[in-house]
């Protein structure tokens, strides 16, 4: 369904991402892990069109989407949430999600209709799914951190995506929130038949939810495989714990 | 049009550049380190000119008055700005730029009326000191007034002193560091608020100096701030925000395009600097040199 082939990106000579290959099958939930500065976020930025790769190709559903703008990639059905909270601070929760729906439906040029009556059902359905319905009239800047992260996901859902990219969905959440959030993602995936690519620091989360794991260190993939394969891999332990003596 | 005409026009353009540079470098310093788009900068320039007038008059229009004013006027402006910084600006560093822009615009309104209250509406002039009266003849027919020649020396001197200040003094180095990372500067034991205050005062000192230097060539009038502040902002923008060398290059572009423009296209010569700004920003949206923003 999705395939990245030999993606590379360097900043001022520093290889942030180097020759990364990844393919994701429909319905999979793939995790990308790696220490800070491993290039995970850069990799996601390449996939979603914020950055243009120096080399390599990105193929989605058999179509080459390398070099397309972010909004074009969104229209193809790839949605993304951000690591840092990146919601529309001054809009209400409802408007945040509605905006995404409007954009998908190509209604952003509509000057006449009153927006508050458009796609209310769908927006509310999304909000209900993620459990933010009772907060729909709160200005999103006032939500708690955890709620804002959930809202992030809700915004991404507004695009009716088939492929979702979640950049540290649980970063900065308390343990209880983390569990709730991951359960939510799991449920959404089942309900909406989503394919998910996410990165995460919390290993409990990664091993609890991912089908497959890709480990990145200093811009390179050191291993791809199932949870068990990764757990037992010596390179991974080195990267995380510095257990090697070489 | 021979080469001498062009050369002389360039030379004359340069002396105008000097004033623009001195004022804009102060503006740039404040923009770069404190991130305040200081619209009141022009008012401080005007204040410098008026103070120069008062000092010069106190000494009966003698040469001594000029030299005292050369130091005294900028210092007085620096004092005024120091009070303003400690009383108002230090509490507002984190505000949005638009707010600061309008706040300083409010200050320029206040300054404008205060100057009117104190000095009244009459035109004032500051006499050129005796040593700089007269002119030198260059390239057959360039009548370069001695005072402009003096400015041509002062300009590089100020640039050099600024370079010394920014690159060689501890204060300058700290301000450069603070421009990029004010939090970390605080974390190595430096009182950032104080550094900001001093930088603000230094920038305003330059505005006062510019006003003082320009005073002997023009009539000091109310409203002289308005014509200058726009040009200064454009200079700072095309040079790169917060970059003092950018201010120099911007001032050069402004001064030279204008004086050359007069030569080749007299009717619309004054449009050239603005056209230059549009050109620069079209190709280099962030200004010519590296901005600290």
């Amino acid at each position: 369904m999705f395939e990245a082939k030999g993606l590379s990106k360097s900043f001022d000579g520093f290889m942030a991402v180097s020759r990364v290959d990844l393919s994701v099958e429909k319905g999979e939930m793939v995790a990308v892990i790696g220490p800070n500065g491993a290039g995970k976020t850069t990799f996601f930025n390449l996939i979603t069109g914020i950055l243009k790769p120096d080399s390599g190709r990105i193929v989605y559903k058999g179509e080459d989407i390398t070099g397309l703008s972010p909004y074009e990639i969104f229209r193809k059905g790839i949605s993304r949430s951000f690591q840092i909270v990146n919601v529309f601070q001054r809009l209400t929760v409802f408007e945040n999600v509605q905006l995404s729906v409007l954009s998908r439906e190509n209604k952003t040029w509509d000057l006449i209709t009153n927006a508050s009556k458009l796609y209310t059902d769908e927006t509310e359905k999304i909000l209900e799914q993620v459990g933010l319905l009772e907060k729909k009239n709160t200005v999103s800047g006032f939500l708690s951190h955890g709620e804002q992260k959930i809202l992030e996901i809700a915004i991404a859902l507004g695009g009716k995506p088939e492929f979702m990219i979640l950049d540290e969905p649980t970063a900065g959440m308390s343990p209880e929130e983390t569990v709730r959030c991951m359960e939510l993602i799991k449920r959404l995936r089942e309900e909406m038949d989503l394919t998910i690519l996410f990165c995460e620091h919390d290993m409990d989360v990664v091993f609890g939810y991912a089908n497959r794991i890709m480990v990145m260190v200093r811009g390179e993939t050191i291993i791809q495989g199932t949870c068990d394969e990764v757990k037992c891999n010596r390179l991974v332990q080195e990267a995380y714990l510095g257990l090697s003596d070489e | 049009m021979d080469i001498y005409t062009i050369l002389s026009q360039v030379l004359v353009g340069l002396s105008r550049t000097v004033i623009l540079f001195i004022v804009s470098s102060g503006l740039s310093l404040i923009l770069g380190v404190l991130r305040i788009p200081n619209v009141a900068h022009g008012s401080l320039y005007m204040l410098g000119a008026y103070t120069a007038y008062t000092i010069s008059k106190f000494f009966g229009g003698q040469d001594l008055g000029f030299w005292v004013a050369l130091i005294g006027a900028p210092l007085f402006v620096a004092l005024v700005s120091f009070i303003a910084e400690r009383c108002v600006f230090q509490f507002l560093y984190e505000r949005e730029h638009l707010m600061l822009l309008l706040l300083t615009f409010g200050f320029s309104l206040i300054f404008g009326d205060l100057v009117k209250m104190v000095w009244g509406g009459e035109y004032k002039t500051v006499p050129v000191p005796k040593v700089f009266q007269g002119y030198i003849l260059l390239f057959r027919h360039l009548h370069l007034p001695l005072y402009n020649a003096f400015l041509l020396i002062i300009g590089p001197l100020v640039a050099f002193l600024l370079w010394l200040f920014v690159n060689k003094t501890k204060m300058g180095k700290i301000s450069r560091a603070a421009a990029v990372d004010r939090e970390m500067v605080g974390a190595v034991g430096i009182n950032v608020s104080w550094v900001f205050g001093m930088t603000f005062v230094a920038g305003c000192f330059l505005a006062g100096l510019g006003g003082m230097l320009v005073a002997p060539t023009i009539s000091v009038t109310l409203g002289m701030d308005h014509s200058l502040i726009m040009e200064s902002f454009l200079i700072v923008i095309i040079g790169g925000l917060g970059n003092i060398w950018g201010a120099l290059i911007g001032a050069l572009i402004f001064g030279l395009t204008q004086s050359i423009g007069i030569l080749i296209w007299p009717k619309f010569g004054i449009i050239l600097p603005y056209a230059a700004v549009v050109m620069v920003l079209t190709f280099k949206p962030k200004g010519l040199l590296k901005s600290t923003w």
Partner: protein, 403 residues
């Protein structure tokens, strides 16, 4: 939620305003002055206002006009026509002034003039120099109390045509006033002396501070004489640059009002000598009793010498007073009928307010700057008086323009 508060605030303000307008006592002649009291023009406008005040005090001290005192109020229009117009309307509609006067800003003057025509209120223009005010756009309710660009140009051309120069350069501030003065001089100069030729032209932006580049260019062309059409602060700035570059010693030049006190006094003894200029008034010339008395009183009141604006302000007040006296009523139409063609005494002699175009016929003085012992600044010398009949556009010309 928001609306009621908005409306409430609005009404509080309105009532505040309404109550303030009651401040004026009844039974006075109210005059509203709209003028620029901000920025460079203040050097001229303060004199208009102060001399006007002086005259009003004199008149009121003598018991006012027909038993009523004159009362006046000023508004600062900040050299912005939109503000000026709003303030003129405020004076007219809220303060209910009987007469409007003022403004150095031609655009404001023209806009207010149009308002005066619609509202049928006399409007005395006291410093705006556009010749459109009493020329092309003149009407029954507007009065020109100062010389305009056309008059200045014609007077200067008259004097210059008698001089031997033939190769002229024209330079000036690139705005209406500069162009109008230059054109006025040039049009009539070519008519009066067909031998003159134009070597070149230079126009700089208004408020230009450094004239050296332009002067370099002019010097290179070696003209005999330069017509410099600057206004406001540009007058002083150009003279300073001319002195610094040595231009004033090499090539004679003319500036309207170059010999005027407001230009020369700030420069002290450093002003260039030998600059030709035209002006309507000096506090030292003509050396008549009327002028001396006026200067004396003005100095007593404001501790400075009156400048040209003072004449305009003073004369305007006199005309208003005499006009009402002659009309013997406070009816505005009768007042206008009364002052049309009226002649009064002034510090510069008898002055007539022409009936055909409502333009005050002022004598014009042509002279050059000179250092004279005993003065702390340069004064005008070699003064020739050009009587108004010699240089003012004729009534036929004006009426042709208005058609």
């Amino acid at each position: 939620m928001k609306k009621p508060l908005l409306i409430l605030g609005y009404f509080i303000f309105i009532f505040f305003l309404v109550s303030t307008s009651k401040l004026f006592a009844e039974k006075t002649i109210k005059i509203g002055i709209v003028d620029t009291y901000t920025g460079p023009p203040t050097t001229f406008t303060f004199d208009v206002r102060d001399a006007f005040e002086l005259a009003v005090k004199e008149i009121n001290a003598k018991g006012g006009i027909l038993g009523r005192k004159i009362e006046y109020t000023t508004r600062d229009e900040k050299f912005k026509p939109d503000v000026g117009l709003a303030m003129a309307k405020e004076l007219l509609l809220k303060e209910k002034v009987d007469i409007l006067m003022g403004t150095i800003n031609s655009a404001t003057a023209l806009a207010v003039s149009d308002l005066a025509r619609k509202e049928k209120v006399p409007f005395f223009v006291t410093f705006a120099k556009s010749d459109k005010i009493t020329g092309e756009k003149g009407h029954r309710y507007v009065f020109g109390m100062n010389e305009n660009t056309e008059m200045a140009g014609r007077a200067a051309a008259l004097a210059l045509s008698k001089m031997p120069y033939t190769k002229y350069w024209i330079a000036g501030d690139d705005y209406e006033y500069g162009h109008a003065i230059a054109e006025g001089v040039w049009r009539h100069l070519t008519k009066l002396n067909p031998k003159v030729t134009k070597v070149g032209e230079t126009w700089w932006k208004v408020g230009e501070a450094d004239f050296t580049p332009y002067i370099t260019q002019i010097l290179a062309a070696k003209p005999d004489f330069i017509i410099v059409a600057t206004g406001g602060a540009g007058m002083v700035n150009f003279q300073r640059a001319a002195k610094a570059t040595g231009l004033s010693e090499k090539i004679p030049f003319y500036q309207h009002t170059a010999i005027e006190h407001s230009v020369l006094m700030p420069q002290g003894l450093n002003a260039p000598e030998g600059v030709w200029g035209t002006c309507n008034y000096f506090f030292y010339y003509p050396d008549t009793n009327e002028n001396r008395t006026f200067v004396e009183e003005f100095r007593k009141a404001y501790n400075r010498y009156p400048k040209v604006g003072a004449l305009y302000g003073y004369v305007t007040a006199k005309f208003i007073a005499e006009g009402f006296k002659k009309a013997k009523t406070f009816d505005k139409e009768k007042f206008i009928d009364a002052i049309e063609g009226m002649v009064i005494d002034s510090p510069v002699g008898k002055l007539e307010l022409r009936k055909c175009d409502h333009q005050l016929a002022l004598p014009m003085y042509f002279g050059r700057t000179k250092k004279v012992g005993g003065w702390e600044f340069l004064i005008a010398s070699d003064i020739q008086t050009i009587p108004s009949k010699d240089y003012m556009p004729s009534c036929e010309e004006i009426l042709r323009l208005r058609k």
